[in-house]
Amino acid sequence: MSAAAPRPGEALLSVDGISLAFGGVKALTDVSFDVRKGEIRAIIGPNGAGKSSMLNCINGFYQPQQGRITYRGVERRQMRPHEAAEQGIARTFQNIALFRGMSTLDNIMTGRLLKMKVPFFWQVWRHGPAMREEIEHRRFVEGVIEFLEIEHIRKTPVGRLPYGLQKRVELGRALAMQPELLLLDEPMAGMNLEEKEDMCRFILDVVRQYGTTIALIEHDMGVVMDLSDRVVVLDYGRKIADGTPAEVKADRRVIDAYLGVGH
């Protein structure tokens, strides 16, 4: 499964010539880029540029009609979302997708589901290996909760939490999966300045503490320029620029795309 884990600086994921269409609507056309191990890679672009579609292709929600996706050096054709999760790809969503009926703790615990191996007849009795496993996962989850500073809402049903905290719980659930690649779809959308700063700090800490590689979509240009190592810019489903934040910021086509031609 894990063909020689890439070292820092090597490509963890590369997408090559991805095209995706819904009927006549072309969401993505011939998009190629790579994500290196240990970096923060931003995907930006105006609304409808195909950013979320790109993430959906990477974690298997969508199957691109053309192109190749290589992850950990293994090229894959079709991958379903749960297989992507098994391979260490976690994600959050633009419109938060949490288990609204469950508490913060239970939500984050679902991130450990794949790591639970004890057969269910042990779990039913809450006994022996099942108990040990539960405690071990609970300990890890408590670590995540502490890391994200959400101890006080541990037992609160997430449906009742304010938006900013829900986003944090969603990040927590993804972190509980101990992903190798973390996909964040607009992690700071709809947040106030303070919440954004917190979230930035968490994202940087995730890379530092857990060694996770991150690909994120974000609209706040200030955030993108501060956080990311490299940026890929999409417009109308095509890649128009790729490089460091400084390079991208100076790119003629990027300025055109954001401000309109003839500004």
């Binding site: 749960h82 997708a97 288990f99 239970d106 679902t110 589901l113």
Partner: protein, 316 residues
């Protein structure tokens, strides 16, 4: 007239408490069976958002398979095990052939697909086992017969042993399901799927696997229901009508709540028997067949989400 409706029935209840206990017991037993059918619906509705019209025919099919196998010389315990296997095969095929190709289609499409499943199973069942009603193999499955008479409250109350067994088995099964869904990894995954498909997929839950599990569980519930109901009447295709009895139970209890299905079942069962016995004579009896729907209708007016169901809030 007012006296007859609002006073007289209660006077009767107080006059003959033994009779009241008997009626309550009959209602409870009927209610337990309604609850079982509703439980099958709730399991599938929670996990996949599909209202499974085929639940009723699954009850018949499970019972028919069991009896049919036994008629062909398979010993009863083995027939039971084989029937469980058949229910698994059914769940697996439904997931493969119906649910998977229709994923992300509107709910009404999936609902219609369960109509298709219903008629397919009817045809299949008649083709394999014939259309004649069969007797449930009660004795071979070690279900008790006969009745216990208890002297109480200045009278005599009769408990059918079979009814007691039905209540106990149903109770045990509900408890087992509750523990299974509360404590195991699969249970956690199932609750996750019930909340959000998208999020469940992202943490690595396979929807296909969960669907097979819930349809199989609903199949097991159907089998138990089929045995219990079949033991009271015969096993025939007419039995699938009981699925319609689950509707008022679901409206009462909410489509997404397991405790709701149980409480709703009991309320309908007891309400029906009480209504029939104490108020039925006022209108010439026979209200048992429609009273449940009347109760459900009243609930729809005042509490459309049911007693325990999730409150529906639409943003506009």
């Amino acid at each position: 007239m007012l006296y007859q409706v609002f006073v007289d029935p209660f006077v009767q209840m107080a006059d003959m408490p033994d009779l009241l206990v008997q009626v309550l017991w009959e209602g409870t037993v009927a209610g337990v069976l309604y609850a079982l059918i509703a439980l099958g619906f709730v399991l599938i509705f929670k996990a996949s958002g599909v209202f499974n019209f085929a639940q009723g025919i699954m009850v018949v099919f499970a019972a028919l398979t069991l009896v049919g196998l036994h008629e062909n010389g398979v010993p009863a315990p083995l027939a039971l095990v084989l029937t469980v296997g058949v229910m698994y095969a059914l769940a697996w095929s439904i997931e493969r052939v119906v649910l998977r190709p229709l994923v992300n289609q509107p709910d009404i499409i999936l609902f219609m697909a369960t109509f298709g499943i219903t008629y397919l199973i009817i045809g299949l069942g008649e083709f394999i086992f014939g259309g004649r009603p069969k007797a449930m193999i009660t004795g071979e499955l070690f279900l008790p017969r006969g009745a216990i008479d208890v002297q109480m409250l200045g009278g005599r109350v009769t408990f059918q042993k079979l009814d007691i067994a039905a209540a106990v088995i149903a109770g045990l099964m509900v408890a087992a399901l509750a523990v299974f869904f509360q404590r195991t990894r699969i249970g956690r995954a199932l609750r996750a799927v019930a909340d959000s498909h998208k999020a469940a997929l992202s943490v690595g839950i396979s929807l296909n696997q969960i669907w097979v599990i819930v349809w199989f569980t609903a199949g097991l519930v159907a089998l138990v229901t089929g045995i219990m109901w079949g033991a009271r009447s015969d096993v025939s295709f007419g039995l699938q009508i009981i699925a319609l009895k689950a509707l008022p139970v679901l409206i009462l209890g909410g489509f997404t709540s397991v405790p709701g299905a149980i409480v709703g079942g009991l309320i309908i069962g007891i309400g029906e028997k009480m209504g029939e016995f104490y108020w039925g004579p006022l209108v010439g009896s026979g209200i048992e067949s429609w009273l449940a729907y009347l109760i459900a209708l009243a609930f729809l007016l005042f509490r459309p989400q049911g007693l325990f169901g999730d409150k529906i809030i639409e943003r506009i």
